[in-house]
C-alpha cells in the first residue's frame, strides 16, 4: 500500500454540519486521506460519523467548509456527479431488479456497450464470490449475499473512493468476521480508497490503516490502530477503544505519577504537578500477593470470558478491572503490579468548566438568565458604578459591556447532581459518562446546549435528566481577554 506518498485523494477542510433543526452533527472536521488508504470513522451512535460520510457521498451538503477531491472542490456537487460509490447500511438493493440489473445499474447509466457491461458485472461477481447469481432475485438472497451484491454494485463502477456505512451491522457475528477479512483482502486487491464507518471498535482495529475516533461531531484522535489503542489521546478514546481503567491522578515527579494512592513510575514525560488521567489496560495489570503488590485490594467479581477471566478488584475507593488467565476467588486479598510501560498518561481535560457569556443591559450575565450574582466591579479591574448606575472604568469613562465577555469557571467537583429539577439552577441530560476509578466523570448537556463536566461519586445513567447544584461561592469569574 502506498501509505507514505503524499498523494492526497480527498481533503475535508473545516467541515461543519448543522441541521435545519439546529442540531450540530459535525463541527470543524479536518481530515485528509491518501490514495488507497483504508480509513475508518469510529464512534458511538450519534457522533456524526455517518453524517460526515454522507457529506462525502453528497447526500448532505456541509454547512461550512470544503471537500476537495483530487484538489477540486466538490462540496456542492450532487451525488451522481461524484466518482464515489457507497455501500449502504441496509444494502439498498433495488427490489424490482435482479442481481445482474442491480450491478449493471451504474454501468447502464454510463451507456457502456453491452459486452463491456456483461464482462464487468461478471468480474464484480467473481470478486464478491457470487458467480452464476446473475439471474437471481434480490429477495431470494441471504443477508450476507445481499451485502456482497451491494459491494459488487459499488465497485463495478471503479470509483475513486468507496464509502461503506456500517455495512456489516446487519450480519451475525460469524458472517461479520468473515466479511471483515474479505473486505480487507478486497481493499488490497482493488487498490481503491475505502472510507468505512462503524461503531465497532474491534472491526475498526482489525481492518483499518487509519482510524478517526469521533465523539459529538468532533475528531477525538486520528491514528493507526496501534496508536489509538496504545496511546489514546484522551479519556474518551481510552474508554471507547477496548477495555480500560481510567484513573484521575497527578504528576508527582519526573516520570512519576500518583494514582490509587501509589507513586507509579511511567514513561510519559509530563510536567510535575499536572493533573492527569492515567489509562491502564486490564491486560497490563499483574495480580500477585498483597505483600508483593504496589497496591492492595480485594476481588469483588470474577467473570469467565473464554480466553481469560475478567476480575474486578476494589482498592480503596477505586475499582480496577484486570484480565488474567488464572482464576481468583471472590474475596481474596491481592496485590497489583503495573509496569511503567502499562501506564499511559494523558493530560486531564475539561477539569474546569469555562462558560463564555455576554453581559446584558442590567449588568447581569446572560448565562442562566442573570441568576448568577456576578459583581462586575470585582471582575473588571478598577471598575465601579457612578451615581447613575453606569459601569465606569478607573478613568471614569463608561465601559461598553456589549464588547465584553465574562468567563464563568466552575470546577467539576463543585457541582452536584439532583433529580429534583427545583433544587439546582440549571438542568440537562447526561450525554457522557466515564468511570475514573473512584468517581464518575459526567458531561451534562444543558437545555441551553452548553456542555458541563460534573464529577460525582454516584452512578447516574446516560440520558438521565438532572438538575445541577452549583455552590455560588465556588464560581470564578474573569473577563475574556
Amino acid at each position: 500500500m502506498s501509505q507514505s506518498n503524499e498523494n492526497k485523494i480527498i481533503e475535508l477542510n473545516n467541515i461543519s454540519k448543522i441541521f435545519e433543526d439546529g442540531f450540530s452533527a459535525v463541527s470543524n472536521f479536518n481530515l485528509s486521506i491518501q490514495k488507497g488508504e483504508f480509513v475508518t470513522f469510529l464512534g458511538p451512535s450519534g457522533c456524526g460519523k455517518t453524517t460526515t460520510l454522507r457529506m462525502i457521498a453528497g447526500f448532505e451538503l456541509p454547512s461550512e467548509g470544503q471537500i476537495l477531491l483530487d484538489g477540486k472542490d466538490i462540496s456542492k456537487l450532487p451525488p451522481n456527479k461524484r466518482p464515489i460509490n457507497t455501500v449502504f447500511q441496509r444494502y439498498a438493493l433495488f427490489p424490482h431488479l435482479n442481481v445482474f440489473e442491480n450491478i449493471a445499474f451504474g454501468l447502464k447509466l454510463k451507456k457502456l456497450p453491452k459486452e463491456e457491461i456483461n464482462k464487468r458485472v461478471k468480474k464484480a461477481l467473481e470478486i464478491v464470490d457470487l458467480e452464476d447469481f446473475e439471474k437471481r432475485k434480490i429477495q431470494t438472497l441471504s443477508g450476507g449475499q445481499q451485502q456482497r451484491i451491494a459491494i459488487a454494485r459499488a465497485i463495478v463502477n471503479e470509483p475513486e473512493i468507496l464509502l461503506l456505512d456500517e455495512p456489516l451491522g446487519a450480519l451475525d457475528l460469524k458472517m461479520r468476521k468473515e466479511m471483515q477479512i474479505e473486505l480487507k483482502n478486497m481493499h488490497e486487491r482493488l487498490g481503491i480508497t475505502f472510507i468505512y464507518v462503524t461503531h465497532d471498535q474491534e472491526e475498526a482495529l482489525t481492518m483499518s490503516d487509519k482510524i478517526v475516533v469521533m465523539s459529538e461531531g468532533k475528531i477525538q484522535q486520528i491514528g493507526t490502530p496501534e496508536d489509538i489503542y496504545n496511546e489514546p489521546k484522551n479519556a474518551f478514546v481510552a474508554d471507547f477503544i477496548g477495555e480500560s481503567n481510567v484513573f484521575g491522578g497527578v504528576m508527582t515527579d519526573k516520570l512519576k505519577v500518583r494514582f490509587c494512592g501509589y507513586d507509579f513510575e511511567c514513561l510519559d514525560d509530563v510536567e510535575k504537578g499536572t493533573m492527569i488521567d492515567a489509562v491502564v489496560r486490564p491486560e497490563d495489570i499483574i495480580i500477585t500477593t498483597p505483600e508483593d503488590g504496589m497496591i492492595q485490594g480485594e476481588v469483588i467479581s470474577v467473570i469467565f470470558k473464554g480466553v481469560h477471566y475478567e476480575i474486578t478488584i476494589i482498592s480503596g475507593k477505586n475499582e480496577i478491572v484486570v484480565q488474567s488467565t488464572k482464576k481468583t476467588e471472590i474475596g481474596t486479598k491481592v496485590g497489583l503490579i503495573i509496569e511503567p510501560d502499562g501506564i499511559h498518561v494523558m493530560l486531564a481535560e475539561n477539569t474546569i468548566n469555562r462558560i463564555e457569556t455576554a453581559i446584558d443591559r442590567h449588568y447581569k450575565l446572560e448565562f442562566l438568565d442573570g441568576k448568577l450574582n456576578c459583581d462586575l466591579t470585582k471582575v473588571i479591574q478598577g471598575a465601579g458604578f457612578n451615581e447613575e448606575g453606569t459601569l465606569i472604568d478607573a478613568h471614569g469613562d463608561e465601559i461598553d459591556t456589549d464588547k465584553l465577555k465574562v468567563i464563568v469557571s466552575i470546577k467539576p467537583e463543585d457541582i452536584t447532581m439532583s433529580d429534583n429539577e427545583e433544587t439546582g439552577i440549571i438542568c440537562g441530560h447526561i450525554i457522557s459518562l466515564i468511570y475514573k476509578g473512584d468517581h464518575y466523570s459526567y458531561v451534562v448537556r444543558t437545555d441551553e446546549d452548553i456542555d458541563i463536566v460534573v464529577d460525582d461519586e454516584y452512578l447516574w445513567n446516560m440520558d438521565d435528566y438532572v438538575s445541577l447544584v452549583i455552590k455560588e461561592e465556588s464560581i470564578q469569574y474573569s473577563i475574556k481577554k
Binding site: A57, G58, F59, P78, P79, N80, I84, N85, T86, F88, Q89, R90, A92, L93, F94, P95, H96, F105, G106, L109, K110, R153, A154, N157
Partner: protein, 266 residues
C-alpha cells in the same frame, strides 16, 4: 353414536352459506337469464344481439373510451399529488391526505349535485359538453381512489434506494424513471383497477349531470327498468367477463406487492 364435535373446519360453514346465497346463486340466476328468452327456453339470441346491434357495441366502446380517459386523467392528477404528499417532509402530512379523502365521506348525491351547480354556472347548459362533463364528474368522484393506493406505495418507497440510484450516477429524472416509477407500479395498478372498472358502469353520475350519454351501466339499467331481465343479464355477464380478463391481466404485475389492492389506508 358418534359425538358431534366442532372443529376448525366447521367455522367455514357460515361463510359458505353466505357465499352460496349471495354470490353463487345470483350468478347462476344471471347466467340462466342471460341464456334464455322470454319463453324460458335456452337461447343465444341475447349474446348475438349484443354483438350485432350497433347500438350496444357503440355503447361498449363509448364506455371503454370514457373509462380510459377518466383513468388517464385521474392518474395524471393523482400521481404528482401522491408523490409530493408521500415524499415531502411537510409536517401535517396525514391532515393534507385527509383533505383529499374527505370528499369520499360526503354523500355522493350531495357532491355530484354541487358539481352540477358549479358546471352549470360555468357552462350555462350542461347539454353542450356531455363527454367533458362525464369525464369531470367521474374524475371528481374517483380521484381519491387513485390517490390513496399510490400514496401508500410511495410512502413505503425507501429513501436509501433513491440515494443509491443517485450514488450510482442517476440524475433526478433518471432516478424517477428507473426507481421511483417502477417501484410505485403496484400502487398505480391498484389505482387503475379502482377507477377504471367503476367508471365503465357508474351511470348515476351521468344521470345526475342531466347527461344523455349512455354507458354500460345505463344500458343495463334501462333494460332492467323495462323488465327485460334477459338482455340486461347478458350485458352484465359480458361486463363481468371483461372485468375478469382485466383483473387477470393486472394481477400479473402485482405478484410482488404484498399490500394487495386493498392496501388503502391513510
Amino acid at each position: 353414536m358418534k359425538k358431534l364435535r366442532l372443529n376448525r373446519k366447521h367455522l367455514c360453514i357460515p361463510y359458505s352459506v353466505f357465499l352460496l346465497c349471495f354470490v353463487v346463486a345470483p350468478l347462476l340466476v344471471i347466467i340462466f337469464y342471460a341464456f334464455t328468452n322470454g319463453e324460458g327456453k335456452f337461447s343465444i339470441d341475447n349474446l348475438v344481439g349484443f354483438f350485432t346491434s350497433p347500438n350496444t357495441i357503440g355503447t361498449l366502446f363509448y364506455s371503454l373510451c370514457i373509462a380510459i380517459v377518466t383513468t388517464i386523467v385521474c392518474l395524471l392528477i393523482a400521481y404528482p399529488i401522491a408523490y409530493i404528499l408521500a415524499r415531502s417532509k411537510i409536517k401535517y402530512k396525514s391532515t393534507v391526505v385527509l383533505i383529499f379523502v374527505i370528499p369520499m365521506w360526503i354523500n355522493f348525491t350531495l357532491r355530484i349535485t354541487a358539481l352540477k351547480e358549479i358546471l352549470t354556472i360555468i357552462e350555462g347548459n350542461l347539454a353542450f359538453h356531455p363527454f367533458l362533463n362525464t369525464i369531470i364528474g367521474m374524475t371528481y368522484d374517483f380521484l381519491p381512489f387513485m390517490i390513496l393506493p399510490m400514496y401508500t406505495t410511495l410512502l413505503k418507497l425507501d429513501n436509501s434506494l433513491l440515494e443509491a440510484a443517485s450514488d450510482l450516477g442517476a440524475s433526478p429524472v433518471k432516478t424517477f424513471i428507473k426507481v421511483s416509477l417502477p417501484l410505485s407500479l403496484p400502487g398505480i395498478i391498484s389505482g387503475i383497477v379502482m377507477v377504471f372498472l367503476p367508471s365503465m358502469t357508474n351511470y348515476v353520475v351521468l344521470d345526475m349531470l342531466y347527461n344523455s350519454t349512455y354507458i354500460m351501466g345505463s344500458l343495463i339499467g334501462s333494460y332492467f327498468s323495462a323488465y327485460d331481465w334477459h338482455n340486461g343479464s347478458m350485458i352484465a355477464l359480458i361486463l363481468l367477463i371483461i372485468i375478469l380478463v382485466f383483473t387477470l391481466f393486472t394481477n400479473k404485475y402485482e405478484e410482488d406487492d404484498h399490500t394487495g389492492r386493498g392496501g388503502v389506508k391513510i
